[in-house]
């Protein structure tokens, strides 16, 4: 019995440590973004960014497919759903977006300190090769995303 539990536990720990609790999921970019925009509460008016602008803003590779909605600068709110072509690229995307969140935090720290709290509660999660970043005005983002996955949004 112990021989069976041990590998299972190890696998669970490995999965947990990598931050990829839903490795095999594949989100549909458009429906996921639409769901987020319709259910998550935002204070600012977010506008969809063009592909070239996304590349400039996030410095992502051309093969990354992405949907991004961002505010005008009044708030730090944004929605970013990016899909990489493989596992390694997805890991890179996570690092890149972690850095982006950190950069946003630094840039708002002196400019609009009240935005820092919002940034500190950023939702950043990887679903398969897709990475989702949400900075909003909603404490229930995690639950809403979990519901989306449960409802078969993948």
């Amino acid at each position: 019995m112990r021989q069976k539990i041990f590998p299972a536990l190890l696998l669970f720990l490995l999965c947990f440590a990598s931050g990829c609790t839903q490795e095999n999921l594949d989100l549909d970019l458009d429906s996921c973004t639409e769901y987020i925009m319709n259910t998550v509460i935002f204070e600012d008016t977010l506008e969809e960014l063009d592909r070239d602008v996304i590349r400039w803003r996030y410095n992502v590779e051309e093969d990354v497919d992405a949907r991004v909605f961002a505010g005008s600068g009044a708030t730090a709110e944004e929605v970013c759903v990016m899909q990489a072509i493989d596992d390694d690229s997805a890991s890179d995307l996570v690092s890149l977006l972690e850095q982006h969140v950190q950069d946003q935090r630094e840039s708002y720290e002196d400019y609009q300190p009240e935005e820092v709290q919002r940034i500190d509660h950023a939702f950043l999660k990887r679903y398969g090769d897709t990475v989702v970043l949400i900075i909003g005005n909603d404490n229930g983002v995690s639950e809403k995303m979990a519901r989306y996955v449960e409802q078969g949004g993948v």
């Binding site: 008016t45 063009d50 602008v53 600068g73």
Partner: protein
Amino acid sequence: MTRIQKKVRRRRKLGFLLALTLTFAGFFSATRYLSQLSAKSAGEMVQASYTVIPKTVLKDHADLNENLEKQGDFQNCVETGAGRVKETTETSETEESYCFSEPVPERTAVENTYFDDAIFIGNSRTEGFALYSGLGNIRAYTARGASVISVFTDPVISQKGEKVTIMEAVQNAQAFSKAYIMLGINELGWTNYASFIEQYGKIIDALREIQPGVVIYVQSILPVTSEKSEHDAIYNNENIQTLNQLLQKMCEDKQAYYVNVAEAVCDENGALPADSAFDGVHLNRESCETWLDYLKTHTVEEK
């Protein structure tokens, strides 16, 4: 001494005096010629240059106006087919050079490709412009809260894994031939606007050093909404207007192109319409597109 010796001596004296006279005459003629030449060159230089506002400390806008009136050279712009140009008073000819004291006039719109070799320097508003204007080829060096000082001092741009200042990032940038600057809203609370203008001038100087021959467009500071303006002792349209007037005059001094983009996004009261900005300051997509359209129709060259 014999009579012959006396005669020789007298002739020598006369010869010496003659030589001396000729030498002096030659010297004076040469001096006169050179001074005429020098005066002519200086005159030509005056005609070819624009009025330079003396770098006195400008306490406020009134001082600046006074200086310009003393120069008496702020009004000699005439309309031609190619836009407003400066007319010299010393000659009857109209000098075909740009009138930097005036905002860039409207002309046929350029394509988006015009901005392929342009860079944009600014604060969060320019960042919003980069996100929303639809200019896919934009090269923007921006930071929230950026000021005319912080562009030289604060490492805010990520480049090759390290943070550099906006001006360092510009220096590392690929060649560019146009630079658009919009700074000033974060400096509205400064007590000394002369320092703002002086520091702004340093950005222009630095850009010219980095990229000699660069066409520099100084954009006017965009207004805020009436609501924001009426309830804010610093971030209000009165202060913005004051800085814009100083910027326009700085452009004449530095021979940079003043683009009065504020007129494109303001209402009849000179304020940003309430529905143009969520917080009264940062422009929405529609206004950023209007901003871009204005830039496209207010250029000084076609390519």
